[in-house]
Symmetry: C2
Subunit: 243 residues, 2 copies
């Protein structure tokens, strides 16, 4: 039991939840290490959504609004951390939710799909084929799902799949706390924010943006500038040791 | 199998090793998350020991040299990552090595003590009592060990125990990659460096420093300045997006 007066209570509860999910097989052990990496960068963001991340989230909503066939790709960590927020965005946006895993077993796919459905998502499921040009199991996706998508939202993604999706001509929206990662640099748009904070920002903007605002946000999209703002924000926190 | 020419080979091998240790129960699931956090900060250090960290390591050696009853506190991650380096420092310095765990079970204590002994450490073992004013199981330590210590080296520590040890009048040397952590700020001295790099720096300095150099380093000890240097180094890497 974590004492409720612990100054890092929320972070510790999230860690325990992820560890539970790892014991159940939903989260891989690499997923636990990835989460820790994300924690460090979130710490440097002050564990809050800054102006730059909020604008990136609104731009993500604009990309989803203007998409023909948007897909939200979900892995173990995203399902464990943000199943409710994924359901919210799916209901709001009508995007397909599809499970895509690096450490893929039929059992894990089923577990994660169940978790997502229990949280309220419609999950686009069925037979996956090896359709992406990747040597590992993230190559598996559905022909009518991610393969056919024009915009793919990939929270907590690994770099090489992001590169492949962009190479296939898709617009890739990454949610990644590390502004120096390959994913962050390769994506069409990177929301440098914690996934449970970023997804509701995107869902809210999806509902509130006008068509003109959507067009303007998409036209103004400059991912290197977004990453630079995130890096500067983190650097400022480091330099001034802000709390 | 990880290809040996992979640009992140060393980091990936370390992760696999830690995951193995987690499966065996030596490392806790939360320990994997902590490791990820450390990875992110080490990335911002360029994964090397800078001048500031080297000077902090020498100061740590000076504190150990001038200690009456120095103790090295070891947890699961430290044992999994750096059992050999702990043995080296223990043999060099004559400090007691004592296991102290957040997720404490008799079985885990035994496993970690065995791992440390197999790597060449003398481990100070025996009956632990709840002697530190903490609500969780890190309160357990030995009366003749950490409880009686005047200097405690705590690699990869959590913040509240660091605070408690300082409150008991002990000098605490932390090894912590996060220069913003409570541990880093509470400790008497923080070596902001990766544990397998930091421990040999301390062991080498323990042997090479003169008594006068030890006195001068201890007199000049300024932990806030050390943390500032580490933060500035990381910030520079973020600002310039160095590889």
């Amino acid at each position: 039991m974590i004492p409720t007066d612990h100054p890092r209570y929320r972070s510790l509860v999230t860690r325990e939840h992820l560890a539970d999910c790892a014991r159940k097989g939903i989260v891989s052990w690499e997923g636990l290490i990835s989460h820790g990496r994300g924690e460090a960068f979130d710490y440097l963001l002050g564990e809050k959504t800054g102006e730059s991340a909020r604008r990136a989230g609104r731009t993500a909503a604009a990309l989803l609004r203007t998409a023909r066939h948007p897909v939200i790709s979900v892995n173990g960590n995203t399902a464990a951390l943000a199943a409710r927020e994924i359901a919210l965005l799916q209901k709001t946006s009508g995007a397909l939710v599809e499970v895509n895993l690096f450490h893929r077993t039929p059992e894990r796919v089923r577990q994660i799909e169940t978790l997502l459905r229990d949280a309220g998502s419609d999950v686009f499921s069925g037979e996956a084929e090896r359709l992406l040009p990747l040597s590992h199991d993230r190559a598996f996706c559905r022909r009518e799902g991610m393969y056919a998508a024009d915009v793919v939202l990939v929270p907590l993604e690994d770099g090489d799949r992001c590169e492949v999706l962009v190479g296939m001509g898709k617009k890739v929206i990454a949610i990644d706390l590390n502004p120096l990662s390959r994913t962050a640099k390769m994506a069409t748009l990177t929301v440098v924010d914690e996934v449970t904070r970023a997804l509701p920002v995107i869902a809210n903007a999806f509902l509130s943006l006008t068509d003109e605002e959507c067009r303007n946000l998409v036209a103004a999209l400059d991912n290197p500038a977004i990453l630079k703002e995130a890096r500067d924000e983190m650097a400022a926190r480091l330099c001034h040791a802000l709390d």
